[in-house]
Symmetry: C3
Amino acid sequence: MTNIRHLVEPENFTLEEIEDLIDKGLSMNADPKPYANVCQGKIMASLFFEPSTRTKLSFDSAMMRLGGQVLGFSDASTSSTSKGESLADTIKVVSGYSDIIVMRHPKEGAPLLATHFTEVPIINGGDGGHQHPTQTLTDLITIKKYKGKLDGMKIGFCGDLKYGRTVHSLIRTLARFGNKEFYLISPEELTLPSSLKAQLEKQGVKLIEMRYIEDVVEELDILYMTRIQKERFFNESDYIRLKNSYILDKDKIKAAKSDMIILHPLPRVNEISNEVDTDPRALYFEQAKLGVYIRMALICKLLEVGPYARG
Amino acid sequence: MTNIRHLVEPENFTLEEIEDLIDKGLSMNADPKPYANVCQGKIMASLFFEPSTRTKLSFDSAMMRLGGQVLGFSDASTSSTSKGESLADTIKVVSGYSDIIVMRHPKEGAPLLATHFTEVPIINGGDGGHQHPTQTLTDLITIKKYKGKLDGMKIGFCGDLKYGRTVHSLIRTLARFGNKEFYLISPEELTLPSSLKAQLEKQGVKLIEMRYIEDVVEELDILYMTRIQKERFFNESDYIRLKNSYILDKDKIKAAKSDMIILHPLPRVNEISNEVDTDPRALYFEQAKLGVYIRMALICKLLEVGPYARG
Amino acid sequence: MTNIRHLVEPENFTLEEIEDLIDKGLSMNADPKPYANVCQGKIMASLFFEPSTRTKLSFDSAMMRLGGQVLGFSDASTSSTSKGESLADTIKVVSGYSDIIVMRHPKEGAPLLATHFTEVPIINGGDGGHQHPTQTLTDLITIKKYKGKLDGMKIGFCGDLKYGRTVHSLIRTLARFGNKEFYLISPEELTLPSSLKAQLEKQGVKLIEMRYIEDVVEELDILYMTRIQKERFFNESDYIRLKNSYILDKDKIKAAKSDMIILHPLPRVNEISNEVDTDPRALYFEQAKLGVYIRMALICKLLEVGPYARG
């Protein structure tokens, strides 16, 4: 590899690269066999300075499905960081132990910093409330598989739009793909940050804010639900008051189109009622599954193996 | 796989299936080489919502000896469960990341619940004080290897017969195999639960309760020792008073037959004196080792690979 | 394997064996491909009764680069030890689950004890303040690669020479290789223990103690820096006063030879200024990397595979 590539934020890839990655991921999903050994002999270091079982297991599964191996830690408390080591040093050392690094870190910018000290590709597995680019890719591969395209759709986002980084990242990326209208359904306290709104509107994107799912559900192609994360609230009473405000149930999607799809980054607490799970439009578990395949494609791209092997 | 099978409790398998599993496990023990790659490309998710290093390592070893890979967690505190996710959701997602799931959970019934939401086979690695079916299989494979049969034997159980789930499960299963007499050696406070006694007696099983190992040791074919688990007691003083009551030493087995075998599910604290370890009848470490082979056979059965591959 | 070998302390190997191991490690470093599968089907148990991410990941990487698999734990709190199991029992059981065991333990002598109960080779990954033999091997492989030999050099050790076990072990081993002069640079409170000094001087080794790096830096072939470990101090104020006393910066190495090499066992806190990292003489990250290769050679030696396969 002459130029090491990293994925710190979705903007690191061109639209063509993202579409290509999605297509490769869908091929792997359709028939994973040809890829079962493309990472044989390769090691992924999985450095979770902040716990996130879901993301960790998804990456571990992706690397293993490619025939690679995984080492790392799921909790910084046992790492050398606790002895006062700098992130730069940790990355320098671990990049000598592995072929690719996935990291999750509580501090914004940590993965970007890591790219300056590594000898191997870095994948951002989430940095604080900042970026979580593989979640965005997971959302996109699901949209592409079930809607057949990535643009020209009416998309509603519901829940915590203030702190939910997955929403911010997905809106920005969908806007890059040419989507011009987004429906933002949230309580007043949890609307999209005004800086992001300003940035999007400057790009010609129309943001329509509203309070209730029912106000717009019949027009939507995609309804993206999010968790009201307890840890983002400063006090318990606000959390309790708001968490139940935006629960999706069968009633609320009665008027929706038959081919509207319902997405959620998971884990959910109760923002989607279990009765919705059996609705054919509910794709959030399929979405989690597709997350493995897009990560497989991503690992191959950054390691230049399999479908991304250099002639 | 058209019909996914699970192992939640020993009763999920017929006696023929159990015997067949034991035979396959013994073949693997005799010569593991032919099985070294039968799980290549397969992923086992190892979900330990409650820590149990012993059981986890045994399963991990089994899967690795078959050429498969393992992902998961050894402690629920870092899992999505701590963000309020339901077990059903965790299972749905993880069954998209893996080919088979082993789970240990503090709540009785959790593995049974999991079978309703999974797309892959579930193995119960212990649910609270309820079931621990692979321990039972481990006990059985050891008995079969060293006694040559599973029925018609005089079996003594010693120690904590009240809370020790491994004892309950093993007695029930040995009764299914036609054993009609069990010797129950325990302090009065830790005798077999009366509901289980009633159930067994209804099946024609004779239960002989006693206080001392010496009362019966010379008649036994198998002496099954158990740990007096501190965590099962409500107060410290009861634990201290009782834990030393049933310590096996050289003296206590002087009168035993030369081919009596001594089993223990491990870990032991001090209920078997170290001096017994070198006695040829002491098989508890061999038993732990055989636990890997019966788990290898079980994984093959549920995944329908290796000796269980479909024509 | 008829006679199982272990690595508890460097003295377990003859000088010839150590040199051979280093040569094999350097071959693996030069071209790892021929070794990519020599441990296929082998399992390493990695038992960290005390956390040490650095050491664990290095061993994990070594085993994976040889095509083997790894199971174990990174923290004793979840192990059976917490249920009162003896180390002897844990080792007996785990040696039935694996082909080789790496262990780190807070108690001195634990790995030696383990060798009495295991059926597979044991590698000491650090026992309290006692031994850490693979760090010594890591230091030696780096010296051999960059100085071309293991004897006849002027070597300075700087920092915590009292508690730093890596220093003790390395000096002892370098003395075995015929090095006769060591420069010991430390605050008065952290000089080499007098028992070790006496032992070395009895062997004809000259120990020159000093307070400042600048006193000797221009004569050195090797400068070995160490961390002032907070956890070795009894009070905070001593630590704060001393930790900054021995910080290596560009100024302090101005007078050094152009081929002097700077080593450090890592992790560092601030005892080497970042500005030194880009100096070609700074080899501590390369040293960490070489640690994987010497461990690969070690695993092969103890398992008698690859370059150590029996005819």
